[in-house]
């Protein structure tokens, strides 16, 4: 995780805007990416046919009906509880779950995604606030850098999600239920990338700049708000992207041990109990779209903030 917390410099793609369209397409990533996606889909269909073959054949033979190869293949792509559902089945279930139910119905994927997302966002807010606070303390108090920072790093060695069931049981027994325990797990996961990124960012201004601030007899608060904080912004956004992704993982896993009634994690658990593979994949698709959307959103905000702070567009 440590490397993700450093800002990725935008790999200087050579100025392509001046080139003719065809050249731009040939040099860009879109064409290979599209090819890979097509290849993956074909592979997926082939996998679905192969993996579900025995299942469907057994079903045909049990009912003692004659079948052709075409019917067999069609059956593998249309099974009710396939080992590997075909992409169109997943998409159909996903669309059904998103559009065919009211957003507050427990059969709606929008509802479950929102339950998970709200816990993840609350956790993200708590984790980022704690992380920034710890980073500010660490760069200002030297003892903390030496004593606290090693423990924050070591805390990542604990498989944090192992704590998830206890957190939820413990908080449940003192009467805190629902959103907050899940959010706490997300928050715990978010703190680390934020602390590491922000310590790096807040200490990134070099000697010269700090000396200049000193020459202008800036107060510590001025040094912080006019030098350190702006310098840390790119690092903050890099950490935020990692934290956003990881907070959703935390919220999903936080829903498992309680056997929670709502949320994507609960959906996964129910699907695995009843062998509803299509439902599991549809839930995964939903949470993937949410995760990718929010990580992308953080990226967009980063770009607009960078532009406002005077970065070259």
């Amino acid at each position: 995780m440590t490397n993700n917390a450093t800002p990725m410099m935008n790999k200087a793609t050579p100025m392509m805007s001046g080139l003719p369209l065809l050249t731009r397409i040939r040099r860009g990533a879109a064409l290979p990416l599209a090819a890979m996606i097509v290849a993956l889909t074909v592979l997926w269909y082939a996998g679905a046919v192969l993996m579900n073959m025995t299942l469907v054949r057994d079903a045909f033979e049990r009912e003692e009906v004659e079948y052709t190869t075409m019917e067999l293949v069609a059956g593998t792509l249309d099974a009710e509880r396939p080992l590997l559902p075909a992409p169109h089945q997943i998409v159909a279930t996903f669309i059904d779950g998103v559009f065919n139910y009211a957003p507050n119905s427990p059969r709606s994927l929008v509802y479950h995604s929102w339950v998970t997302l709200s816990a993840a966002l609350l956790g993200l807010a708590m984790g980022v606030a704690t992380g920034i606070l710890l980073a500010v303390l660490i760069i200002h108090v030297r003892v903390l850098e030496k004593s606290l920072l090693p423990w924050i790093i070591a805390s990542q060695m604990i498989p944090v999600l192992a704590i998830a069931p206890i957190t939820i049981v413990v908080l449940g027994s003192i009467g805190i239920r629902g959103l907050v325990p899940k959010a706490l797990i997300s928050a715990y996961l978010c703190v680390f990338p934020v602390v590491i990124g922000m310590v790096k960012g807040l200490t990134s201004p070099d000697r010269q700049h700090r000396d200049l601030m000193h020459n202008w007899s800036a107060t510590p608060a001025q040094v912080f708000f006019k030098l350190r904080w702006p310098a840390a912004i790119p690092y903050l956004f890099a950490s935020l992207k990692v934290a956003m992704a990881i907070s959703i993982v935390g919220a999903v896993v936080g829903e498992l041990p309680t056997g929670a009634q709502a949320g994507i994690g609960a959906r996964l658990l129910a699907g695995s109990y009843y062998g509803q593979t299509i439902q599991i994949w549809a839930a995964l698709l939903a949470i993937s779209i949410v995760a990718a959307g929010f990580v992308g959103l953080v990226g967009l905000i980063e770009k607009s903030v960078a532009r406002r702070m005077g970065a070259p567009a």
């Binding site: 440590t2 990533a29 996606i37 192992a162 069931p165 498992l256 996964l268 658990l269 695995s272 995964l284």
Partner: protein
């Protein structure tokens, strides 16, 4: 640390200890007058604190000793049934004094001007060690002093007791989850990731197509694949290894691709002028150049792998394994077992991370980040 700040810290600590003696109304004062040992320990600590400002350079020694003595006194007091679980202000004053002393120890250590690099290294281990010890002791005193129910949070001592007495069970869980699930999956996933990177490294079309895809997948909650793997590979360890392998594949792939294509123009020209064959170029230039990136991925993966295996156990498991034990014992409210498992996981996780760091130092000693 200046003499003046040492004097003020010592005065605060002394005042707190004095409070402990003087709190007539709290059960604590009863304890101090009934038991002579804690009282003696407190007096010794006071005497030690008075010597601290005398040699500010060595202040860490008396403050640490005082902190240890005060903690010992508080622990002795907890034997008293009147204090344990219903500690009064005097007891907390004593705990506060111990904390102040420990804080002074850490500050004194970090303010030491050391020139010898070995002494510095020792200091950089000593400070977090004191901090960790302080946290554990604080937890012990607060939990037992305030009588926190063990369902909420067991005292560190009872976790340690459970850890020692449940070693055979813990070992079985460790073999099931770590040796079978994590290690096997980790090896498969990383090897596959590195192999895939080797395959695409001189095929730009594949690289441009797969890299953004892998980057995208890395930001998704891949652990969600766990129930499907349990369905495909059964309840036993192969499904856990499969989850771990899938989770570790993507970070290794993206990092290895970056590393393998990271060799500089000059180095490649040098290889060219040596007339190196493609396999020589790979073995002598590209793979060594990729190692720092590979180790980066290995370190990221070492934390992800454990998570994957434990989460997969939530979806189905034989009656052994760390994730299984944690969820079953948490449901039975025996938190000392749960925390013993977490302690084990932390120890094993830290140990394997440490091994990776040592290996990295051995293999990439030439890299800028490894040179002092």
């Amino acid at each position: 640390m200046t003499r003046r700040s040492l004097i003020s810290i010592a005065l605060v600590a002394l005042a707190l200890i004095a409070t402990a003696f003087l709190m007539r109304l709290s059960p604590m004062a009863e304890g101090l007058s009934r038991q002579t040992d804690p009282a003696l320990l407190c007096l010794t600590a006071m005497a030690l604190l008075l010597t601290a400002p005398w040699r500010p350079r060595f202040a860490a020694v008396p403050t640490f000793a005082a902190s240890a003595l005060l903690t010992g006194a508080a622990l002795l007091l907890l034997r008293d049934a009147d204090i344990s679980g219903a500690a009064g202000a005097g007891f907390w004053a004593l705990v506060g004094a111990a904390l102040v002393c420990a804080g002074a120890t850490m500050t004194a250590l970090s303010d030491l001007a050391l020139t010898d690099p070995r002494a510095r290294k020792l200091r950089d281990i000593a400070i977090p060690a004191v901090f960790g010890l302080m946290l554990v002791m604080l937890a012990e005193l607060v939990i037992r002093g305030a009588g926190v129910p063990s369902v909420l949070l067991p005292a560190p001592s009872s976790v340690a007791w459970r850890f020692v007495h449940a070693l055979p069970m813990l070992f079985e869980d460790l073999v099931q989850t770590f040796v079978k699930g994590v290690v096997i999956g980790f090896v498969i996933g990383n090897a596959a990731g590195f192999g895939a990177a080797l395959l695409v490294q001189d095929r730009p079309f594949f690289r441009r197509g797969l890299l953004p895809m892998a980057g995208f997948i890395s930001s998704l909650p891949i652990v969600g694949i766990a129930p499907i793997m349990v369905m495909w590979f059964g309840f036993d360890w192969p499904s856990k290894a499969a989850v771990v392998a899938i989770i570790t594949f993507f970070p290794m792939f993206t990092n290895a691709v970056a590393g393998l294509s990271g060799a500089s123009r000059i180095d490649m020209d040098l290889m060219h002028s040596y007339a190196a064959s493609p396999s020589q170029r790979l073995a002598k230039l590209h793979i060594p150049a990729a190692l720092p990136f590979v180790f980066n991925a290995l370190k990221i993966n070492s934390t992800l792998a454990f998570i994957g295996a434990i989460v997969a156990e939530f979806f189905g498991t034989p009656v052994v394994g760390m994730g299984f034990r944690i969820s079953i014992e948490a449901a039975r409210m025996s938190m000392d077992v749960v925390w013993a498992e977490i302690l084990l996981a932390a120890l094993v996780g830290t140990a394997s991370y440490g091994c990776l760091v040592l290996l990295e130092r051995k293999l990439t000693f030439w890299h800028a980040s490894q040179r002092v």
